[in-house]
C-alpha cells in the first residue's frame, strides 16, 4: 500500500460528496452521503488492515509543498488510526440517524460530510498549521448544523459553541506561532521531540490548554456542551460526542504532553483538580436533569474528566486507559444519543417524564438501551469498563486522592444512568402516546447493532484496540518519564523487608 495516498483519498471522498450534495435533491443527497461515508468506512478498514503494528511510528505519510508557510503533510500513528476508525465508523450511522431531517437535506448532508473531512484531517495532519486549519474549520459546519437544524434555542447554542471554542483556539495559534518561530519547523513529529525551555513551556501549555480544555470540554468551560447538544439534531449530537470531543483529548496526547512534558507535570495538579471537580459536579448535575439529551451531555463531561485524569497520570496505564475511554465514549455516548433520537423521532420530546414503560412496547429498544447504559456505567464486559479501570489504575499510582474522588464518578454514573433507564424503560406506561410507539425498525437496528458489537468487542477483547497504539503510548511514556511527578501511592513490593546491608546493595544494583 506504500505510495498510495489513501489518507488524501479518505479526505477527498467526503469532500467531493459534500460538494455533490449541495446540488442534489433530498433523496439523492441521502444516497450520496451514505455512499460517501460507507466508502470512507471501507477505506478505513483497508487502512487498519494495512497498518503495520510494530512498524515505523508514522505510516502512510504524504507530503506536498504546495503552500507557503506550511505543508500538506499527512501521516498517522496508532493513536490517530484508532480515532480515524471511530470517525469513519460513526459517520454512516449519523447519516442513517438523519432520516428524520426533512428541511434542506442537501445542505445538511454536505455539512456533515464536510465535518467528516475536517475531523479526519485533524487526526491525519502532520503539520502544525494544517492541524490548526482542520481543527478550526470544523467550527463552520458545526455552527451551521446547530443553527439551522437545531431545536428552539439553537441560535444561542450556536453562538456559544462558536465563540467559546474560537477564543480558546486563537490563543493556541499564538503559541503555535511562537513554537514554529523558535523550533524553526512546522513538522509535528519534529516538534514532538523538541525540548522547549521549561519556563516558556508553562505559557505554551496554558495556551494549548485554553483550546483543548474547551474542546474537551473540562469543567468549568464545559457549559457550551449541554447547550449545543440539546439543540443539535441527533446526528449532530452523535458527531459532537463521538468525535469532536475527542479532538481535545487528541490534542493533549499529541501536543500538550509530548511537546511540554515539564509544563504538563507542573500543571498536572490543576488538571487533576478540574477533573475531580468535573466528575463529581457534572455527575450530580446529570442526576437531576429532566431532559434526556442534557443528562447524557453532562455524563459526557464526566467521562471526559476520566480521560484527562488518565492522560495526566504520566504512565502507560493511564494513557492507554484514556485512549480507550475516548473510543468507548465515542461509541457509547453516540449510541445513547442515537437511542434518545430514536424515541425523540416518535414522540418529539426529550422530557424523561413523557416516557415510561417502554420495555413493554419496545422490547428490542429496551435491550439495546440497557446494553449502552451498562457500557456507559462501565460494567465489566463492556467497553466502558476497560478504559475507566485502566485510567483510574493509572492515576492511583500518582495520586490516590484523585483516584478516590474520580472513582466516585463510576458510582454516580451508575446512579444517574440507571435512574434514567428506570424512568424511561421500566415502570408503568403512564403516557398513552409513549405506550403506542413502535419498536425498532430495520434501519434503526442496522444502526444500533454495529455500535453494540463495537462496545462488546472493546469490552471483551480490548487487545485489538490496544495493540496498534501500544508502541506510540510507550514512546510517549518514555518522553514523559523525565518529568513524571512522583506518586503518593507508594507501592511496596510484596516481600519481606530485607536486612539493612542487603537493601544498600540492592539499591546499588539498580
Amino acid at each position: 500500500m506504500t505510495g498510495f495516498p489513501i489518507l488524501s483519498l479518505m479526505l477527498a471522498v467526503p469532500l467531493l460528496g459534500a460538494l455533490a450534495c449541495l446540488f442534489l435533491e433530498a433523496k439523492a443527497a441521502r444516497t450520496v452521503a451514505l455512499l460517501a461515508t460507507l466508502v470512507d468506512l471501507v477505506l478505513g478498514v483497508v487502512l487498519w488492515a494495512n497498518f503495520d503494528i510494530g512498524g515505523p511510528q508514522w505510516q502512510f505519510t504524504e507530503r506536498l509543498e504546495i503552500f507557503s508557510g506550511f505543508s500538506y503533510a499527512l501521516g498517522i500513528d496508532g493513536i490517530a488510526l484508532l480515532l480515524i476508525m471511530l470517525s469513519v465508523f460513526l459517520m454512516p450511522i449519523c447519516i442513517g440517524a438523519s432520516q428524520s431531517v426533512e428541511k434542506r437535506v442537501g445542505e445538511y448532508m454536505a455539512a456533515f460530510l464536510l465535518v467528516e473531512t475536517l475531523m479526519l484531517g485533524v487526526f491525519m495532519a502532520q503539520d502544525i498549521f494544517l492541524f490548526y486549519m482542520f481543527f478550526e474549520a470544523g467550527l463552520i459546519p458545526m455552527y451551521l448544523i446547530i443553527g439551522i437544524w437545531g431545536g428552539a434555542d439553537r441560535i444561542y447554542a450556536s453562538y456559544k459553541f462558536f465563540l467559546y471554542t474560537l477564543l480558546g483556539s486563537v490563543l493556541m495559534l499564538v503559541a503555535m506561532l511562537w513554537m514554529v518561530h523558535t523550533a524553526g519547523t512546522t513538522d509535528v513529529p519534529t516538534l514532538m521531540a523538541y525540548d522547549f525551555d521549561p519556563k516558556v513551556q508553562n505559557w505554551l501549555w496554558l495556551a494549548f490548554f485554553a483550546s483543548f480544555a474547551v474542546k474537551m470540554p473540562m469543567w468549568p468551560v464545559h457549559t457550551w456542551l449541554p447547550a449545543a447538544h440539546v439543540q443539535a439534531p441527533t446526528a449532530g449530537s452523535i458527531i459532537l460526542a463521538g468525535v469532536l470531543l475527542k479532538m481535545g483529548g487528541y490534542g493533549f496526547i499529541r501536543f500538550s504532553l509530548p511537546m511540554f512534558p515539564e509544563a504538563s507535570a507542573y500543571f498536572a495538579p490543576l488538571v487533576w483538580g478540574l477533573s475531580m471537580a468535573a466528575v463529581v459536579i457534572t455527575s450530580l448535575i446529570a442526576l437531576v436533569q429532566s431532559d434526556m439529551k442534557k443528562l447524557i451531555a453532562y455524563s459526557s463531561v464526566a467521562h471526559m474528566a476520566i480521560v484527562t485524569i488518565g492522560l495526566f497520570a504520566f504512565n502507560v496505564q493511564g494513557l492507554e486507559g484514556s485512549m480507550l475511554v475516548m473510543l468507548s465514549h465515542g461509541l457509547v455516548s453516540g449510541a445513547l444519543f442515537l437511542c434518545v433520537g430514536i424515541i425523540y423521532d416518535r414522540l418529539h420530546t426529550r422530557e424523561i417524564t413523557r416516557y415510561g414503560g417502554l420495555a413493554i412496547n419496545m422490547p428490542r429498544y429496551a435491550l439495546f438501551f440497557l446494553l449502552f447504559t451498562m457500557a456507559s456505567i462501565g460494567l465489566p464486559g463492556t467497553s466502558g469498563f476497560v478504559g475507566e479501570f485502566l485510567s483510574l489504575g493509572g492515576i492511583y499510582q500518582v495520586s490516590t486522592w484523585a483516584a478516590l474522588i474520580c472513582t466516585t464518578g463510576i458510582i454516580l454514573g451508575a446512579a444517574y444512568m440507571l435512574y434514567l433507564y428506570r424512568r424511561v424503560v421500566f415502570g408503568e406506561q403512564k403516557n398513552a402516546d409513549a405506550a403506542a410507539m413502535s419498536d425498532l425498525d430495520l434501519r434503526e437496528i442496522a444502526m444500533v447493532v454495529p455500535l453494540a458489537l463495537g462496545a462488546l468487542w472493546m469490552g471483551i477483547y480490548p487487545e485489538s484496540f490496544i495493540a496498534p497504539m501500544r508502541a506510540d503510548i510507550a514512546a510517549l511514556d518514555a518522553r514523559l518519564a523525565r518529568a513524571a511527578p512522583a506518586g503518593d501511592s507508594a507501592p511496596t513490593p510484596g516481600k519481606a523487608k530485607p536486612a539493612h546491608h542487603e537493601e544498600a546493595a540492592h539499591g546499588g544494583s539498580h
Partner: protein
C-alpha cells in the same frame, strides 16, 4: 538622471492620465449617452496600465535605477504591487458601477474619468519617494474621491457623505501637512531617503512631533482609530460602487503610502513610532469590532469591518521589518478580494423593483431563496472573521506571525483574542442569512459581470486560494524587499 528614463518609468501613470484626458474629451462631446463606452474604455486603460506595471513586480525592480525624477517617484516592485491592486480594484468598480448609477438615473460620463484620476493619484501615493510627490498623489486621489462620494447629487445621504469626507479629509490633509512641515524643518529635506539619513543620528523633539502628526494624518486616511469617525457615515452615504472603490483601492493606496513613509522616511526611528502603531492597531481592532456589533446596515457594518481590518494590517506595520511589510501586502491582497466580493454581493442584493437592500434584517433566510448569494455572503463573512480554511485566515495568520517573530507576543495574543469579538458580528450576518425564516425581500437579478466578479473573488477567498499562496508570497516578498532596499 535623464528625463526620457524617468518618463519611461512612469509609463503607467502617463497612459492612465492621457486616457483620462481623452475620455474626458469624449465625455464632453459624447455626453452621458457615451458613459457605457467610456466605462469600457476606462476599464481597458486600467487593465492596460496593469500590464505595464506588472514587469516591475515580476522582475523585482528596486533601487536607484528605478527612481524617477530625482527620487520623487519610485517605480519599484513595491509600487508595482500596490498599483496592480489599485488598478484592478478600480476596474472592478467600473464593472459594477454603470448598472447601479443607471438605475438611479445618475450615470454620468465623468464617473469613469474620476475613477481613473483617483487611481492615478493612488498609484502616486504608493510610489512616492518624497513628501511633495506624496502630497500631490494624496490630493489628486482625495479630490477625485470627494466628488465620487457625492456623485448621486439627488440623494441627500450621498451629498452628506461627500461633504463630510471633504471637510474631515481636508482637516487630515492639514494635519499631515503640518507634520510634513515639521519634518522638513527639522531634517532640512523632503526626500524620504534624506529624512531617513538625517534622523539616523537621533530624533529631536520637533522631528518626533513631525512623525506623530504625519502618522495622525495617515491614520485618518486609512481610517484607523482614533481617526475613524468619518468612515461609517461616508461608507453608508456614498453610492455602493464608490464605497467599494474607497474600501479597496483607496485603502491600498493609503496603507501603501503609510508603509512608504514609515519605512522609507522614518525607518531608522522605528522604535519611536512602534508604540503608537501598536496602540492604533489594537484600538482599531477593538473599536472596529465593538462598533460593528450594533449595526443594522450592511454598508456600515462593512465600514466598521474595514476599521477592524486596518487594525490587523497595522499589526504587521508594528513589526517594522520586511516580514511584517510582506505580511501587510499579503493581507491587503486578501482584504481587497474579500471587500470586492462583499460589496459585489451587497450590490446584487436588490428587491423586486431593483432597489438596493442594505438592511441586514431583510437578508433573512437568503439561503433558501438565493442560495448562491447566501453562500457568497457566508464565505465573505467567515473569511473576514478569519476562520480557517478560508483565505481571510491566512492574512491574519501572516501579520500575527510577523508580530510573534518580531518578539511581540503580547500584541499578538491580545490582537488575536480581540479578533474573537469581531467574529461575533460576522456570525450575526451568517445567522440572519442561514438561520432565520425567509423575509423574501431579495428578488432582483444581476448581470453576468457581477456574477463573474463574485465567482472569481469567492474562489480566491475559498480554500483554493491557498494554492496561490506560494506565488503570492514570492510577490509580496519581492515587493517588501524593494521597499526596504534603501535602508
Amino acid at each position: 538622471m535623464d528625463w526620457s528614463h524617468s518618463l519611461r518609468l512612469i509609463a503607467p501613470e502617463e497612459t492612465l492620465s492621457i486616457a483620462g484626458l481623452v475620455l474626458l474629451l469624449i465625455a464632453a462631446w459624447g455626453g452621458d449617452k457615451a458613459s457605457r463606452l467610456i466605462s469600457i474604455l476606462a476599464v481597458a486603460a486600467l487593465v492596460g496600465a496593469t500590464f505595464l506595471v506588472a514587469p516591475a513586480l515580476c522582475g523585482g525592480h528596486m533601487g536607484p535605477d528605478y527612481a524617477a525624477f530625482f527620487g520623487q517617484v519610485h517605480a519599484d516592485a513595491f509600487s508595482a504591487f500596490g498599483k496592480i491592486l489599485i488598478y484592478l480594484s478600480a476596474a472592478a468598480t467600473l464593472v459594477v458601477a454603470p448598472t447601479f448609477f443607471e438605475r438611479l438615473g445618475a450615470m454620468r460620463a465623468e464617473f469613469p474619468v474620476l475613477v481613473i484620476f483617483a487611481a492615478v493619484g493612488s498609484g502616486m501615493m504608493v510610489s512616492a519617494g518624497d513628501l511633495l510627490a506624496l502630497y500631490i498623489g494624496l490630493e489628486m486621489n482625495s479630490l477625485a474621491a470627494y466628488v465620487l462620494a457625492a456623485f448621486v447629487r439627488t440623494d441627500g445621504r450621498s451629498a452628506e457623505a461627500g461633504l463630510k469626507y471633504f471637510v474631515l479629509g481636508a482637516l487630515a490633509s492639514g494635519i499631515l501637512l503640518f507634520g510634513m512641515s515639521l519634518t522638513y524643518g527639522f531634517t532640512g529635506t523632503t526626500s524620504f531617503s534624506g529624512i531617513n539619513a538625517a534622523l539616523a543620528g537621533g530624533l529631536s523633539n520637533g522631528a518626533l512631533f513631525g512623525i506623530v502628526f504625519m502618522l495622525a494624518g495617515l491614520a485618518f486616511k486609512i481610517s484607523a482609530v482614533p481617526f475613524h469617525m468619518w468612515t461609517p457615515d461616508v461608507y453608508e452615504g456614498a453610492p455602493t460602487p464608490v464605497t467599494k472603490f474607497f474600501a479597496t483601492s483607496g485603502k491600498v493606496a493609503a496603507i501603501g503610502l503609510t508603509m512608504r513613509v514609515m519605512f522609507d522616511a522614518f525607518g531608522e526611528q522605528a522604535d519611536a513610532w512602534r508604540q503608537i502603531v501598536v496602540f492604533i492597531a489594537l484600538a482599531s481592532i477593538v473599536v472596529g469590532a465593538l462598533g460593528a456589533i450594533g449595526q443594522k446596515n450592511i454598508k456600515r457594518l462593512m465600514a466598521y469591518s474595514s476599521i477592524n481590518n486596518v487594525g490587523f494590517i497595522l499589526v504587521g506595520l508594528s513589526a517594522a521589518n520586511e516580514q511584517g511589510a510582506s505580511a501587510m501586502l499579503f493581507y491587503l491582497v486578501i482584504y481587497v478580494a474579500m471587500t470586492v466580493a462583499g460589496f459585489v454581493t451587497v450590490l446584487m442584493l436588490k428587491d423586486e423593483n431593483g432597489n438596493q437592500v442594505e438592511e441586514i434584517d431583510k437578508f433573512a433566510g437568503l439561503s433558501r431563496t438565493r442560495p448562491g448569494l447566501a453562500l457568497a455572503l457566508g464565505l465573505v463573512m467567515f473569511s473576514l472573521a478569519g476562520i480557517p480554511p478560508l483565505f481571510g485566515f491566512w492574512g491574519k495568520f501572516l501579520v500575527f506571525k510577523a508580530a510573534v517573530d518580531a518578539g511581540m507576543m503580547p500584541l499578538a495574543a491580545i490582537g488575536f483574542a480581540a479578533s474573537v469579538i469581531g467574529a461575533f458580528y460576522y456570525l450575526k450576518v451568517v445567522k440572519v442569512v442561514y438561520f432565520d425564516e425567509p423575509a423574501d425581500v431579495v428578488k432582483g437579478d444581476s448581470d453576468i459581470w457581477h456574477k463573474a466578479l463574485l465567482v472569481v473573488t469567492c474562489l480566491f477567498i475559498s480554500p483554493l486560494g491557498y494554492l496561490l499562496s506560494g506565488w503570492l508570497q514570492h510577490l509580496t516578498d519581492t515587493a517588501s524587499t524593494a521597499l526596504f532596499y534603501a535602508l
